[in-house]
């Protein structure tokens, strides 16, 4: 029994494996070199309510945060109710507000010179606080 099987195997022409292995290794190297895991991205939704007309936000009871250029004016680039505040302070405040209402309007006013990063940081804090009604205005 064993003998016949061995003979059968020997009769079959051999499949040349070496080139295939070469190619597979090349592929492997190719993937290792080129593989770069993609970053997980987040989206931060905002409203842009002004379509040309009144670029002024309505005067209701809203939270208003100003984002400015921290290199020019010092501080951390955020001001809340007229005074410069840190991002940690804002986070604490917004978290408390977010606990009882997540639909409260937050108005973010950005100075033209402010960096985009500051706005995104603020939006991140708002997202952490669960606030969803965010509007971005430009000063």
């Amino acid at each position: 029994m064993k003998q016949t099987r061995e003979r059968k195997v020997a009769d079959q022409p051999k499949l040349e494996m070496t080139p295939m292995i070469d190619v597979v290794f090349l592929l492997l190297i190719f993937f290792i070199v080129t593989l770069k895991q993609e970053d997980i991205l987040a989206r931060l939704d905002v409203n842009r309510p002004s379509a040309d007309q009144s670029s002024e936000p309505p005067k209701v009871d809203l939270l208003e945060i100003v984002v400015y250029d921290e290199e020019r004016l010092g501080g951390e680039g955020f001001s809340f109710r007229g005074r410069a505040v840190s991002l940690e302070y804002l986070e604490k405040r917004l978290r408390r507000i977010g606990q009882y209402s997540s639909t409260i309007s937050v108005v973010i006013k950005c100075e033209p010179d402010s960096r985009h990063e500051n706005l995104v940081q603020l939006l991140d804090v708002c997202a952490a606080a669960g606030l969803k009604n965010l509007s971005v205005f430009s000063l």
Binding site: L15, L27, K36, A42, R43, R48, A51, S114, D124, S138
Partner: protein
């Protein structure tokens, strides 16, 4: 002619060239697909670890890239703000509301982002989203 149709022995078919071709094809497709997806690599996205994760690919999503100098591009092709305005208005007329994602560099001035948002708002799109990095890999 006389040899036509006559099998020349029953030797095993050589698989190696076929496998080579198949792998070449695979490489071609993988490279082509990743190239298609590539965005402007010089844009450094800001971090937002607690933002909502982008799940899946909505084919209607319109992605505008703004680099640190304020230049805007779509799928790596740079364009003027007038051109973007035209595209936005035409697209809005045809499809109605569609999601807009803005990929802004972290050092971009707000005035440059503002102009893009303004173009969107003028076209009738009052909701935009900013793209940020939730989790950085490598």
């Amino acid at each position: 002619m006389s040899k036509r149709g006559r099998h020349e022995g029953e030797g095993q078919i050589d698989m190696t060239p076929m496998i080579d071709v198949v792998f070449q094809l695979i490489i071609f497709f993988i490279v082509a697909i990743t190239m298609q997806k590539q965005f402007n690599p010089e844009i450094e996205l800001p971090n937002a670890p607690r933002g909502r994760e982008i799940i899946g690919d909505n084919p209607r999503t319109f992605i505008v890239e703004v680099n640190r100098r304020g230049w805007i591009s779509i799928h790596g092709a740079q364009l003027t703000r007038d051109k973007l305005r035209q595209i936005m208005i035409r697209r809005y007329d045809r499809y109605g509301q569609f999601p807009v994602l803005i990929r802004g560099d972290l050092n971009t001035k707000h005035s440059d982002i503002q102009s893009v948002m303004q173009i969107c708002a003028n076209a009738g799109l009052w909701k935009v989203s900013f793209v940020a990095i939730k989790e950085k890999k490598t």
